[in-house]
Symmetry: C2
């Protein structure tokens, strides 16, 4: 993998991904740690010269998670001049790709086209890229310090996810096929970062027309078992 | 202006702008017509190597409209391979910049970072760029055939404007400082492309908490004069 031919890629443009997974009332994102360094970053990659932007995003997600057909949402493109701060990347290159010169592909300002992705936490098999020695889930309340403006990119992604929360895609991609109202409320509360009123939440969801009630959950105690629901796609 | 130094600009990335203006129940956008050709396009430009993305967008809008501090909303980045269709641009270059070679800055696939802008139709002074011989307002129901995927970019911008219509910025930038409820409803109907119920619209707007009622419009006939409103910023 060390033999990346940088000439195959469009210079100056990167794709950065905020990959959300949800598990046990915790919202997590995938973070890479570069080899032999203390540099943490959002997973990302570059666009091949003969590749559609959307295909590049799907390929990068697939490379990091092993999943295909991932729900991806392009939310913003970042292009501040401060993105040309190449010190962290020099640190990484010193360890991984020497000799290198100051005109190395990775040492320029990148305009970052950013996506958030929603993946099934249990199905994803995080894979580090060739510059990284780990790709791990981090709870959003316990993120390491991220390089460049990646913290800002993550926060913007979370804001978009919160705005999009009533989109069926969010629940569809972060919950099981069937779920109880309590499980759905837990997902909402975790994403929004606040407690919701149980009765109001239940009413709002039923009025939304997005849910279908299937029957009672099989718990052995029929009279206390909650109903399970599924999304109407 | 013919002496553009293409080396000052980041290759492969463009900014395209859907510039909306509103007048007399008509929603219009600015369209460029390239010199000596039948090629119509959204106004756009490129990012200088030493320039922030946001500054580049503001500069381009200023160059096309003469206005500064324009309300700008980055809505999507387009990067289909079909954007490498360089025939229309060759036609333009043949007329304007010969001799040119096939590796000319303008003859590559551009990843387009797209913004929509809301401008005061009466204050804007549309200015063609050095490749164009006109920059004019077109009613959205009467657009010429646009080059590349510019029609798709415009349609995506309109969809975003419709989604954002309840943002105070929309009315604030497209209406006068004070307006009647009928004028506000006209703006909504023009953007949404549908008639709205008058009573329902009035109630919704008053409940939104975004409007302040100022007094009656000075028409000479006090008892029939409508109230005027302003936005609470």
């Amino acid at each position: 993998m060390n033999k990346t031919n940088w000439n195959d890629y469009i210079p100056g443009i990167s794709i950065d991904c905020v990959i959300f997974g949800y598990h046990n009332k915790e919202l997590k994102i995938l973070i890479l740690k570069y080899k032999n360094s203390n540099v943490f970053a959002l997973p990302g990659g570059f666009i091949k010269k003969d590749e559609d932007l959307a295909d590049a995003a799907g390929r990068i997600l697939n490379e990091r998670t092993g999943l295909s057909d991932i729900y991806l949402n392009q939310f913003q493109t970042f292009g501040s001049l401060s993105r040309a701060n190449t010190e962290p990347m020099k640190e990484v290159l010193k360890e991984n790709e020497r000799p290198f010169t100051d005109d190395h592909f990775l040492l320029q300002r990148f305009i970052s086209i950013s996506y958030y992705a929603l993946v099934d936490f249990r199905k994803a098999k995080p894979v580090a890229d060739f510059l990284s020695d780990s790709c791990c889930w981090y709870d959003i309340h316990d993120l390491p310090e991220l390089m460049l403006d990646h913290q800002h990119i993550y926060e913007t992604a979370l804001r978009h996810l919160r705005t999009d929360i009533d989109s069926t895609q969010v629940g569809l991609n972060l919950l099981d096929d069937t779920f109880t109202m309590a499980e759905l409320q837990n997902l909402y509360e975790t994403i929004l970062g606040e407690k919701l009123n149980r009765t109001g939440f239940h009413r709002k969801m039923m009025l939304s027309g997005r849910l279908k009630r299937l029957g009672k959950k099989k718990t052995g105690k029929a009279h206390r078992a909650p109903y399970v629901y599924t999304f109407i796609e």
